[in-house]
Symmetry: C2
Subunit: 338 residues, 2 copies
DNA sequence: TTGTACGCGTTATCAA
DNA sequence: TTGATAACGCGTACAA
C-alpha cells in the first residue's frame, strides 16, 4: 500500500501538495503539478489509509447500525425478512453517501456502546431498543442518533425516531375484520412492548369503537424460541375455535400460524381468518395470499440513514418521522356476514 | 473520549505503564500500579481508539464481508433468506473472536477492492464471486481470503473455499424424482454459473445415469428482475404441462413458482411436482411443505469466518471445505408410478 | 519497574 | 504555488 509520503518522495514534492491534489484543492496548486500528481495517483492506484485520516480529522466516516436482539429472539433476528430488508436499505444509502456501515448485533447495550466508541463512529442507527435503552445510549454517545421503531416518549427528546403508524395500521385492519362480520378476534404477539404494544393498542381501540368487549384471553402469546414455539403453536391452535379471526403482529407469525393450523386440518380462511403485518415476501408468496398491513421496510432503512446523514451535515430533523401503513386485502379473510 | 496520555497524566505515570496494564503485560509492572491503573480505567470507562491502534500496529481487526451482487439481482440480494442467514453466521463468529465485521455490497469488484484496502481489512470473506473475480481480488489483496460458494479451479489455488456438495444434492434429488416415476423433469434457474451450474450438472448426471435424454428445452430460465419475473413465470407456467416435475435451483424460486402455478389453477403436487434447494424458512413454512435439499447456511457462514480466523492466527487450512447436503422429503412431490 | 521518544499515514497550520 | 512541521492516539524499543 503506497502512502502519500512515498508518493511525495518519488515525485520530489511535499506531502502537502500531494494531499491538496487528492482533495481537489485546486487553485492552491499549479495545473502542471496537479496533472503530474493525478497521473501518478492513478498509476500506483493510491488508496488513502482511513485509520490515519480518522486520527487526523477525528471522524471515522463510519455509521454504526446496531441491532439490539432480545435474548430469546437472537437466533432468528437476522433471518427475519424484516431485518434483512432494513439492513439493505441502510447499507445502500450509507454507501452512496460515501460512508461505511458497521453492523453490530448484540443483546447487551453496553457492548454496543463500547463498540461504537472504539470506532469513533460518526453516527448511529439503533434498532430494537426498548424504552430506556435509547436514553442510556444517548447519555454516553454525543453524536447523531437515529432510532428505528422505538416507542419512548422520553427518548424522543434525545433523538429522531423513524417509525410507522402501527396503531393506525392495526386499527384499520381490525375495522376491516369487523366489517367482514368478525367479532371474536384474537391478537397474537410475543411481547407487549414498543411496536407490538402500539399494534395491540390499535386493535383494542378498534374493538372499543365497535363496542366489542376485549378480554385478556383474546391476547395469544407466542414464544419465539425454537424449543418452545411448537408448544405455543399447539396451544394456540387448540384454542382457535374460540375465534373467527386472529390478527398476528407480523407476517412471519401469520404464516407460521397458518402452517400450524393447516397441519391440524384447520383451513384458512374457511375455518378461521388470519392476517399479518408487514407485507413481506413471506405473505406475498403464500397461498392463499396473506391479507396484511403494508409497510415499506426498505424505505424505513433508507429514511433512517438519510435522516442521519442530514444530521451529520448539520441539518435539523424532526423528532419523529412516521411512515404510512396501509391495508393490503388478499385472501386470508373470510366474509362471515350472513 | 479519554486517551492513554491523559490517563497517564492524571495518574502521574507514563503512557507506557498504562499501555502495559491495558495489554495485560503483567510482570512488567508492579501489582500496586497495576491495580491503580485498572481501577482508573474502569472509572473513566476507557475505550481505545481503534484508528490509532490500527495505525500503530498496521492491523485493523476488521474482517470484510463482501457480497458481490449481480447487477440484475442487486435489489433482492439482501432479502434472500439465504444471504441474511449467512451474514448472521459470519457476524456472530467474528464478533465472538473480538473482530469487527464490515459489510460491503457491490456489483463492482474494483469498488470492493478499494474499500478493502482503505480500511486495511485484516481478512476477507467473499461471496458471489464468479470465476476470475476471486483471482483478480487475490492478485491485489495479499491477506487471507475465504470464499463462499465459489467454483473456480484457478481460484482454489489462491484461497480457501467453503462450499457445498451441490452436485450431489441435485443428483440425489433427481434420483428421488426418478424413483417416484418422473421422467419429464425440468430444471429452473436464472443463470448457468457457479453454484447454479453445479446444481444443474448434478441434475443432468442423474438423468444420464437413468438413461433419460436431456434436451435443452428442459432448462427453464427465470429472469430475476422485478419487472421481468412475471413474464418469465407466465411463460414457464404455460409450459408446465411439458413436465411432471420441476427442480428449482433455490427454495425462493420453488415457492415463487408454486405461487404462480397455484394462481393459474395448477396444483402442486397433484398436477406437477416442484422441489427446491436450500431448505430455508420459505419452504418450511409453505404448505404443502416443500421437498428440497437441505444445506446449513448458518454453518456455512460460521465455517467461513472460523476458517478465516484460523488463517489469521497463522494456521493452514484446506483449499476446499465441502459441507454436506441432504434430501428433505416433504409434500411437493407426487409418486406417479402406477 | 517506569519513562522517553519515535513512528504509523494523514491533515492542517503557517511560513517561505 | 509549495514546503516544513506539528498533531491525532497508540504501541514499543530502548534507556533509565
Amino acid at each position: 500500500m503506497i502512502t502519500i509520503k512515498e508518493i511525495a518522495k518519488q515525485l520530489n514534492m511535499s506531502t502537502t501538495t500531494v494531499s491538496n491534489v487528492i482533495h481537489g484543492k485546486t487553485g492552491e496548486v499549479s495545473d502542471e503539478t496537479k496533472k503530474k500528481v493525478q497521473d501518478f495517483l492513478k498509476k500506483v492506484d493510491y488508496v488513502p489509509n482511513i485509520s490515519a485520516r480518522n486520527l487526523a480529522q477525528n471522524e471515522s466516516k463510519i455509521i454504526g447500525l446496531a441491532l439490539k436482539a432480545r435474548a430469546d429472539k437472537y437466533e432468528n433476528l437476522i433471518m427475519d425478512p424484516f431485518v434483512s430488508v432494513l439492513i439493505g436499505g441502510v447499507e445502500e444509502t450509507i454507501r452512496n453517501a460515501g460512508y461505511f456501515m458497521m453492523l453490530y448485533i448484540s443483546s447487551d447495550t453496553d457492548e454496543i456502546m463500547r463498540h461504537v466508541s472504539t470506532w469513533n463512529v460518526d453516527g448511529l442507527i439503533l434498532f430494537g431498543m426498548l424504552n430506556d435503552d435509547g436514553i442510556r445510549v444517548s447519555e454516553k454517545y454525543k453524536k447523531p442518533i437515529v432510532c428505528i421503531d422505538t416507542y419512548s416518549i422520553e427518548g424522543l427528546k434525545h433523538f429522531t425516531n423513524i417509525g410507522l403508524d402501527d396503531e393506525q395500521g392495526t386499527y384499520d385492519m381490525a375495522n376491516y375484520l369487523i366489517s367482514q362480520g368478525h367479532r371474536k378476534i384474537a391478537f397474537l404477539s410475543d411481547n407487549m412492548n414498543g411496536v407490538d404494544l402500539a399494534r395491540f393498542n390499535g386493535y383494542k381501540k378498534a374493538l372499543k369503537d365497535a363496542r366489542i368487549r376485549f378480554s385478556s384471553t383474546n391476547f395469544l402469546k407466542i414464544k419465539p424460541r425454537a424449543d418452545e414455539i411448537e408448544e405455543s403453536l399447539d396451544e394456540i391452535c387448540g384454542r382457535s375455535d374460540e375465534f373467527t379471526a386472529i390478527m398476528c403482529v407480523s407476517d412471519l407469525y401469520a404464516v407460521t400460524l397458518i402452517a400450524a393450523l393447516t397441519d391440524r386440518g384447520i383451513s384458512v380462511p374457511e375455518d378461521i381468518s388470519i392476517v399479518g403485518f408487514d407485507d413481506n415476501m413471506l405473505g406475498q408468496l403464500h397461498r392463499p395470499a396473506l391479507t396484511t398491513v403494508h409497510q415499506d421496510v426498505k424505505a424505513k432503512g433508507v429514511t433512517a440513514a438519510a435522516t442521519l446523514l442530514k444530521q451529520l451535515s448539520g441539518q435539523k430533523t424532526p423528532n419523529q418521522i412516521k411512515l404510512p401503513a396501509h391495508l393490503v386485502i388478499r385472501d386470508t379473510v373470510k366474509n362471515i356476514n350472513k
